[in-house]
């Protein structure tokens, strides 16, 4: 297992080169947990198309230290907004290939509504606040991915709620 939940906060955030195992991560959300009735999780993958190019690979740069802090801050805010219990976030860095897993967010809680909302909130904030940068390897050369307005709009919606 690539991480363990903090006993007092039920939070675990990881930034790593290594891949992660969804089955193991799912067990981490379930084990010794008789209080929660729902687990929602999201996984982001490397796909073969992007902003007009054919993608053959992906490199993820990050700001060591700040990435962990930013993810932690986002998770803490989600816990303050919704009655959820366990939260696990993993984001990979370095060289990735097509169909590789990039990011994982899991949220457990008594009821599904709060878990769905918290999971989506964490992804929407991560996309705008966590210092990761994608550089795609394409048939036309390496290209830095551009930030999209739709991701900013998705985050802004939570501030109006």
């Amino acid at each position: 297992m690539s991480g363990t939940l903090n006993q007092s906060t039920d939070i675990c955030v990881g930034v790593q080169q290594a891949d992660f195992d969804i089955a193991q991560e799912y067990n981490l959300m379930r084990e010794d947990n008789q209080q929660d009735g729902a687990i929602v999780f999201f996984t982001g993958l490397v796909r073969d198309f992007s902003q007009g190019n054919n993608v053959t690979g992906l490199f993820i740069e990050h700001y060591p230290g700040m990435t962990e802090k930013a993810l932690q801050d986002i998770v803490i805010e989600a816990k303050q907004r919704w009655p959820v219990r366990r939260i696990r976030v993993i984001h990979r860095i370095g060289q990735l290939h097509l169909a590789d897993q990039i990011v994982y967010v899991a949220v457990s809680g008594k009821h599904r509504e709060a878990c769905f909302d918290a999971c989506r909130f964490i992804m929407d904030y991560l996309k705008n606040q966590a210092p990761f940068w994608k550089k795609e390897t394409t048939e036309q050369g390496d290209v830095w991915v551009k930030a999209l307005q739709k991701d900013k709009t998705a985050m802004d919606k939570w501030q109006q709620k």
Partner: protein, 82 residues
């Protein structure tokens, strides 16, 4: 003297991952940006981007944020993780 860090496309454009800047402290993030351009005029076109993000001590801040001795300052393009 403060050390400024650069990441991603900005790091490539400036051909530097960090820069030690002599500047009177405290000052604002904007002053740091102006100081960098003063000492490296060729960086102006990249640093003056409206979309550039700033972090002080690993938290995103606006350009009026006050920088003091021993702060960790970083500039980078909009983030694209996830």
């Amino acid at each position: 003297m403060i050390t400024v860090l650069f990441f991603a496309q900005l790091r490539e454009q400036l051909k530097a991952e960090k820069f030690d800047l002599s500047i009177g402290l405290p000052c604002t993030v904007n002053d740091v940006l102006a100081g960098l351009i003063k000492q490296n005029p060729e960086w102006a076109q990249f640093i003056q981007s409206q979309t550039l993000l700033h972090a002080v001590n690993q938290t995103m801040v606006d350009d009026k944020h006050i920088v003091t001795q021993d702060d960790e300052i970083a500039f980078f393009p909009p983030v694209t993780g996830g």
